[in-house]
């Protein structure tokens, strides 16, 4: 039977996985094993609905409702001393259940603790911007919008940040083609010369390793060199390889070990 390859995830796949292989888990600890986290979680639970919480690799992970995010981060910043939002972004789970998982990586310098706040949103939903609380979210949310197409409500400047403004598609989606898509191949031609020049110029070569042996404009075959632009039929004559030095080049001498000084200490 032919292997089934889902169209909603074009990422690289392991070419072989043992059918009885069960992946182990990174161990999770109860929140109660850490006093600071227990107190923090109690403070969050006092005001907001917490779906799940655990400690993994010394950091607490808290799952909340999507629309509580502004309130939770405000509480954490003002009352729990989590003064920095180190990082935020999304994880694409569209192929599994049509959701994105959003994570906010919080840091408390006074407590020396890190908490990850997470929630799920459906495709097409927006998150609430926390740019008013942490200015760093200004750029993080723009990056998330750029890479996943997730918009942030009340963001002052919801534009792409890394890709060009007129780019189509969101690169970090699992459905985004790995080798450059139809649009990418024509992007520069359309941009610089206009669509009508497509016939003249042709699509951009998206394969960096491509070598065309019949193209004598851009490639030279070692040992079979022909003048630039020659039409190659496949029977080009063999050219003898010679080294430049043998004819004697002005100012270039062969290395003579005896008459050279070798410096051992680089910090002379």
């Amino acid at each position: 039977m032919r292997a089934y390859t889902p169209k909603d995830d074009v990422q690289a796949k392991a070419y072989y996985t043992d059918r009885y292989y069960v992946a182990p888990q990174v161990p999770k600890q109860e929140v109660e094993t850490d006093e600071v986290f227990t107190a923090d979680l109690a403070a969050i639970k006092g005001k907001f609905d917490v779906k799940e919480a655990y400690i993994q690799v010394k950091q607490m992970v808290v799952y909340i409702n999507a629309n509580d995010i502004y309130g939770v981060l405000e509480l954490m910043r003002d009352e729990l001393e989590y003064t920095q939002l180190s990082e935020m972004s999304a994880i694409d789970w569209l192929a599994k259940d049509n959701t994105f998982e959003i994570f906010y990586q919080m840091l408390s310098m006074n407590k020396r603790k890190r908490i990850r706040i997470k929630f799920f949103i459906k495709k097409g939903e927006a998150v609430d911007s926390v740019e008013k609380l942490f200015r760093s979210a200004d750029w993080s949310e723009r990056e998330m919008f750029d890479m996943f197409g997730i918009e942030a409500n009340n963001h002052p400047f919801m534009k792409r940040i890394l890709m060009p403004y007129d780019w189509q598609g969101n690169p970090l989606l699992k459905t985004y083609p790995l080798q450059g898509d139809e649009f990418a191949a024509w992007y520069e031609v359309d941009k610089i010369y206009g669509k009508e020049a497509r016939d003249v110029i042709g699509p951009e070569n998206r394969d960096p390793a491509k070598v065309d042996r019949y193209d004598s404009e851009r490639f030279a075959r070692l040992g079979h060199e022909v003048p630039k632009g020659t039409k190659i039929t496949g029977n080009e004559p063999r050219v003898e390889q010679t080294y430049q030095e043998e004819g004697g080049v002005f100012l270039v001498k062969k290395f003579d070990k005896k008459s050279s000084v070798i410096v051992d200490d680089p910090q002379r």
């Binding site: 690289a12 180190s86 200015r135």
Partner: protein, 413 residues
């Protein structure tokens, strides 16, 4: 806009202006030599004063996170070199540490010491590079030549270790590939013995230099609140009054066994950042002396292991691979298919020369990370220019970009 013809405002026959508020939009970069890479700034000016700044990035975007999702873990290691290419071992290390926490292996002590030496040499290289380029931007050519000379010695040492000068790939998941070469310690010691005199030279040239002080003092002041809110880290944060160094506060490797100070300042201006870099170089030299002692102790105690022993995730030493069948088989599987870490996620921050370099890895038990997020400090240090530049004048832009120490391999990833 209607143009009123009078003697004071010039009248143009065939041009109409959208606005007559005298605002000029200046496009700074992306090819400006003091933009330190591919930074484009759109500056709205009133006379020479900036009223609005809009940093535009992405000119060096290579999609590293996407690349990571389609590579096995060991394959991604050389790619991390291209993030902060001024101190590439610290990127290698950040990634290696994150994966090690994910698969829960412990690195042998000798490898830890070598890693710390590499990290601190990278920190020195990065700080020297920062000093050289910033001084050059401001016009101090001599400092540029001096600092590059010293950096060259360090690059020679690194080249002796791993063969590369800029993109080291000198660290592996689970340890280091090689022991240090015979001349490493003696060369490093020669360098470190000279370093205080060198730093003194730079300071003699800069500390009381009138031009330097005018360009640095009270320019680009970042308040503590602003630095925290913008996610600043490293010297940017320490110059704004927060003594936060991840090596000290959340120690990794053997930093808890080492004595060093965390210099900080509450001024927050360009000059404070300059002082922090200079003091950090001295602290780094202190750390390096201690790691050299630790290395010699490792040799005395006969600790020879350089890679962690964890057959499920990490290949056996080369001698085992060449002599034992099972090691060869396991090595073959690890190279062709890659390691498969457990299901779970980690976020591991390290103190790179620029600030908090974090790797978030979400593994679903496959040979490729399901999601890998690179938290590069320079990204936010560029973002802060939006709020920092308004109110300053055009010449200050150059010195502020200089002291933020942004590297575009890291900003755009």
């Amino acid at each position: 806009m209607a143009q009123v013809k009078n003697r004071l405002t010039p009248f143009f026959d065939n041009i109409t202006f959208d606005r007559d508020d005298n605002e000029l939009v200046l496009n700074f970069g992306p090819q400006h030599p003091s933009a330190h890479g591919q930074l484009r700034l759109m500056l709205h000016l009133q006379q020479e004063q900036i009223v609005k700044a809009h940093p535009d990035i992405g000119y060096l975007h290579r999609g590293m996170e996407k690349m990571a999702e389609n590579m096995i873990y060991n394959e991604f290691m050389p790619t991390t070199d291209r993030m902060d290419y001024i101190a590439s071992s610290s990127n290698n290390y950040g990634f290696a540490l994150a994966v090690e926490k994910l698969i829960d292996v412990d690195v042998p002590r000798r490898a830890k010491v070598i890693r710390m030496m590499l990290l601190e040499i990278n920190r020195l290289m990065s700080h020297l590079f920062w000093l050289a380029t910033t001084a050059l931007d401001i016009g101090a050519m001599t400092v540029f030549l001096f600092a590059f000379r010293e950096r060259e010695y360090l690059m020679d040492i690194i080249e002796g270790y791993c063969g590369a000068r800029l993109t080291h790939a000198a660290i592996r998941i689970g340890g280091v590939p090689l022991d240090i070469q015979d001349t490493f310690l003696s060369q490093l010691k020669t360098f470190l013995d000279k370093l205080p005199a060198n730093i003194k030279d730079y300071e003699d040239l800069l500390d009381t230099n009138r031009i330097w002080l005018m360009r640095m003092e009270e320019v680009g002041t970042i308040s503590k609140e602003m630095a925290l809110s913008w996610g600043c880290s490293g010297p940017m944060l320490r110059a704004s009054g927060v003594a936060w160094d991840i090596r000290k506060e959340e120690p990794y490797e053997l930093y808890d066994e080492i004595e060093f100070n965390v210099p900080y300042s509450d001024k927050g201006d360009n000059f404070a950042r300059y002082r922090i870099y200079m003091e950090e170089m001295r602290e780094t030299a202190k750390i390096l002396y201690q790691t050299m002692d630790m290395y010699e102790k490792c040799v005395e105690n006969g600790e020879t292991a350089l890679m962690a022993h964890s057959p499920k995730y990490i290949s056996a030493p080369k001698i085992d691979i060449m002599t034992q069948n099972y090691s060869l088989m396991q090595h073959f599987v690890l190279v062709t298919q890659g390691m498969r870490p457990p299901v779970g996620e980690v976020y591991i921050p390290t103190e790179s020369p620029k600030g908090e370099l974090g790797f978030y890895i979400n593994s679903q038990g496959g040979p490729y990370p399901y999601r890998l997020k690179l938290r590069a400090p320079s990204f936010w240090h560029t973002g802060i220019l939006t709020d920092l530049l308004p109110g300053h004048y055009i010449p200050d832009v150059v010195s502020i970009i200089g002291t933020t120490n942004i590297v575009f391999g890291e900003v755009d990833r």
